[in-house]
Symmetry: C2
């Protein structure tokens, strides 16, 4: 039939990272989602109750893109007991004109981490105040690090604050970033202390009850909520969504089901008050209209981002001659 | 992280075919579906309207099975204009205890063809009359051939009749089977003529209006309807479902949405009159109770079959040392 390019995490890490072209690739998908031109079905989930696991499948066809990525994300929460990571996954890219498989990307979740970090930067680019910013990070995992690094693509970060449930992890995070980036990163006592000083905050936890409430908001703040991607998760109290001058999200349908919009709607928030990031990017919605606005962007993660980052990664790997080609 | 076994269509054709172990593997899944023990989400579909294409994703976790298959089926109906087949696809198998990807099966749809052929044999094994049978085939494609060959695993086929819209294809099919199998295969004038003589009939077309109506039924007949797997497709008139003594299907939920049960329910058929093949296999439903019963089985195709055939194929390929192993 043809040939398949098999790419490993190592290949993909060589090919794509936190760069401006990658940022532009992720940014480009939001207006396509919001215009309704993407074919992006709801997430498919296969539960594996015996092993405390689940597989989530995301995909999207974007008109004009040469490939369609289908992403399998695995979360198996007994894995740490076996010395294995909880999260993993892979992507397959099919030719969008013929449906023929082109590439298999065994990225162990790297591309998901990357496009999620970049999505936070896209949100901040369009919603956070201009100029120098103090960054706040809630959580101390991979995504906390990527949200910080990606924000530097779009804003001049002068100082950082972190709070995490695991205070030792927060300490290590702050020490490492302070020494490697030259940007002073300090550990805060609590979430409220982070919000009292930060201009841009990324919440990156698997919290199932709100960490941020409306009393912590102050004029000019921007929050990107990255953690919630399931019915059971929530990082922001409904009052945060209801108080903010702008509540944006990557996909209203997904945020209402799996993200921060869910609890807010339950609490009486009017869905008409939510806008998609794509509407702000294409200027069909104004976004921030004053220095004092509080803006929130909830990211649940979309198959469109996967198609965008996978398309760029495959193109780069082909240019660089990376991967193994197998005749099929 | 580990290693991935990449298998091509050629590897998979060497590893699995129309055998009794393959038949048993497919047969075993139906009671798991019907008992509710399988995790089998609805089919995910990505539409690609610009290229007259769609990608369907099926999957299932079956307790006790070492792997979970996720299957991508591509149907791109402008492909023949480019000299390419319309249908294709691949499967990925993840370890069911850890979620870690184990194998990528670039089968171009071979495993789907195979498990669908075997499913027809499973249906006939449990529903068709015992003893020698005359087989009728409606349609002259790959699945017509596989339904015929697979039936020979479970019944003594003495003679064959075929009707297809493309009469030349029907003629080639009959000539080839007559010469290669020694079983006399003749071309019928129309569908009614096939049903007037055949004991077991497989309908294998993409028909969007019924080919078989209740007036064509005669005592003792068994029909397996393989074609309908979409809202727009239908091979059997609602009267066939309503008249048959037994109406079975692989999955009631899927048949009601995508299969022959859909039109019958619209016409007033009581869903309680439908049984799943798994209920007949595990004897919780009696199935055929007399030589004169008319039995119908509608197969829409399930992710559970994909997990079953992929599991067996991967095991065989490992035993045979087939495929390419890539460190990830």
């Amino acid at each position: 039939m043809g040939e398949i390019r098999v790419l490993t995490e190592s290949d993909l890490r060589q090919a794509v990272g936190l760069g401006l072209e990658e940022l532009a690739a992720v940014e480009a998908v939001y207006p396509i989602i919001s215009s309704g031109d993407a074919s992006m079905p709801p997430i498919m989930r296969i539960d594996v109750p015996e092993h405390n696991g689940e597989i989530d499948i995301k995909s999207a066809y974007l008109p004009g893109y040469p490939g369609i990525a289908v992403k399998l994300s695995a979360g198996f929460f007994d894995n740490p007991d076996r010395g294995l990571p909880s999260l993993g996954g892979l992507m397959v890219v099919l030719d969008s004109e013929t449906g023929i498989p082109q590439s298999a990307l065994f990225d162990n979740g790297y591309l998901t981490d990357l496009r999620t970090g970049l999505a936070g930067a896209v949100a901040a680019k369009h919603l956070a105040r201009e100029g120098e910013v103090v960054m706040g990070v809630i959580g101390a995992g991979v995504q906390a690090l990527l949200q910080f690094k990606a924000l530097n693509l779009v804003r001049n970060v002068t100082r950082g604050l972190i709070w995490a449930r695991r205070s030792e992890a927060a300490r290590r995070f702050a020490d490492e970033l302070s020494s490697t980036t030259g940007i002073e990163f300090t550990v805060a006592e609590n979430v409220a202390d982070v919000l009292s000083e930060a201009d841009v905050v990324a919440t990156t936890t698997p919290a199932t009850s709100p960490l941020v409430d409306a009393s912590m908001l102050r004029p000019g703040l921007h929050i990107t909520a990255v953690g919630s991607d399931a019915e059971s998760k929530q990082e922001l109290d409904a009052g945060v969504v209801m108080t903010a001058e702008v509540f944006a999200c990557d996909s209203i349908a997904q945020s209402a089901r799996l993200g921060e919009l869910r609890a807010a709607l339950d609490a009486g928030f009017d869905k008409a008050g939510a806008v998609e990031l794509g509407q702000i990017i294409d200027a069909s919605s104004p976004g921030r209209t004053s220095e004092d606005d509080v803006t929130v962007c909830d990211l649940t993660g979309t198959g469109a981002q996967d198609t965008a980052i996978a398309s760029l990664a495959v193109q780069r790997c082909m240019e660089l001659g990376l991967g193994t080609t197998i005749d099929t």
